[in-house]
Symmetry: C2
């Protein structure tokens, strides 16, 4: 682009249309916005930033970057049983950002706004000499005092997870050329699971009243379940064979137990891991059927032993397997 | 620091203590937070990011960077007549960030949390190969449907501004060595006004019921008043001699009308510009006395003429002065 982008012009052209259905956003023409949860609900907030080269590949398409930014935040809200409403976006753009980039980026936001029924509430745009980054605050609503916390798991709860685990981890490894698959269909499926996270926004709110504790799986199943265990003062006892895998992932890890185990530590699943009492089982089966999302029992919450790992995984013989890495830490992790 | 900082360790040591008085933050140990305005109030949100080398000098002290980040956001809330409650922080740290830096930074946040009665609600921390940046979302509450908007100014309203204008602009020019002052006292006062913004959080909420329209002055008086004019379909007619200047600023611009005028276009004042009917005058005098903050009438809202500037400034003879720049645009502006 020949001309540098003017901030006000940029907002008017690319971002104002995204705020049209949010009356409290005042068309992005004021210094603040107003947000009202429905009667009987309380406001839920979560914030996550993503940085080029750390949380997504430098080669990512602008619309995919936008959708990733929204979806990792939507996953946090879904993991708490809340329904998403709106978001704010602060965007740091390298000076070479052009109109084509902005058009694709805002198009990605628009697409996911429609898909998830949310709108843009406000934000800030600035140039940076550093990498592109976006910081999103997402707002949702939950029934008053009904947010599903990490800290409220109970001993003997069953541990469940939505969807399948490890697809995004394998998809990223394929993108980086670290592994290859003979089936182009499997390859595409796994790469897609990495590129476009599928936050479980329709399942999350249905878990209210059934799940005792929950978290979204972003840093890896073992790490995020570990957070529930620590916050609740318990440990989780899982069986490797019960971890739900897609057929593409299953064919990849056949006869490779270390790789199979590493899926439990890989990040970017954006599923929900939760614990629930035995009495919730039938309701969970119904929720799975209704939403079309797999819900699988993978283990049980037990008493914690001091010094022992928070999450243990057993093979089919019941022997405890060694986990090398408790989960990726997104802080400074390179994609 | 010899060791790289672990994200969870960093949060526990430097940020968790900042969330202690916010029950809805769950000790920063969950994926989302809950925020409840008081009965009869609605939630107000604003977001602003600041980037090293663009919005503050690379040489700034960490505690000052933290306080600047909070205060530019507090100013947005104050400018709408709302009372601040809490904030989220997403922080992008260069890899060389050490514990000393983090300790000073979080100390600055703690200091301003106490001063303004707010708490940390959540956030995200990540490394970046780029410059240090922080993105803050600030939350406040305003009486339901009482947020003071930009768009509701009326013809014949008086235009008022809090505090004094131009100090921070001169303070930055001194910091950059562009101007010098003989009085070290004046120099220190102006530099301080640039380094530590003083958001008008105690005045803002008192303007509810008196001001028809308002905005905080961050991009320059002419630019921000211009936004009120545009949103309200009016123009503002100001008198240069009525613009309130500190004695340090007054001595600097004596006999230098171009510099005097440039104060109206300089940014970083973090005052409130607002319009109010004549009937509000006595109440505003009382608010000024009660808060100890100067409130000055600087002009009047009049009918807009198509093609004319939104804000005009007259000299003492009533002649219109030429404004070279309508206000700084923070987008990509270098400090």
């Amino acid at each position: 682009m020949a001309q540098p982008v003017d901030e006000f012009d940029l907002i008017a052209r690319f971002f104002e249309p995204l705020a049209r259905d949010m009356p409290g956003a005042f068309g992005l023409r004021d210094d603040a916005a107003v947000l009202r949860p429905d009667a009987g609900y309380e406001l839920v907030v979560s914030a996550d930033a993503i940085v080029a080269g750390i949380h997504f590949l430098d080669t990512s398409r602008p619309d995919e970057i936008a959708r990733r930014g929204l979806r990792v935040n939507l996953s946090d809200i879904a993991g708490k049983g809340a329904v998403p409403l709106a978001y704010t976006l602060t965007l740091q753009l390298p000076s070479e950002t052009d109109e084509e980039w902005l058009s694709s980026f805002s198009g990605g936001l628009a697409q996911d706004q429609r898909e998830f029924g949310i709108g843009l509430l406000g934000g800030d745009t600035t140039l940076t000499p550093g990498p592109l980054s976006l910081s999103i605050n997402i707002f949702g609503q939950a029934f008053e005092n009904k947010l599903i916390k990490r800290s409220s798991s109970r001993e003997n709860d069953d541990v469940y997870v939505t969807g399948t685990i490890g697809d995004a981890f394998l998809g990223l490894a394929i993108e980086k050329g670290e592994i290859d698959l003979s089936s182009s269909h499997d390859r595409a499926e796994l790469v897609d699971r990495y590129r476009i996270p599928q936050p479980r926004v329709f399942v999350g709110p249905k878990l209210v009243g059934h799940a005792n504790a929950s978290a979204d799986v972003s840093d890896g199943l073992v790490a995020d379940l570990g957070h529930i265990c620590e916050a609740s003062g318990l440990r989780a006892d899982l069986s490797l064979s019960s971890i739900p895998l897609s057929s593409a992932a299953r064919s990849t890890v056949t006869d490779n137990q270390p790789l199979h185990l590493s899926l439990l530590a890989g990040g970017d699943d954006y599923e929900i891991v939760f614990t629930a009492p035995k009495t919730a089982h039938d309701a969970l089966v119904a929720i799975s059927r209704e939403s079309g999302v797999l819900i699988t029992r993978i283990g049980r919450m037990v008493e914690h032993k001091i010094g022992a790992p928070r999450v243990i995984v057993r093979d089919i013989a019941g022997d405890q397997l060694a986990l090398i890495n408790g989960g990726y830490k997104h802080f400074g992790r390179s994609v």
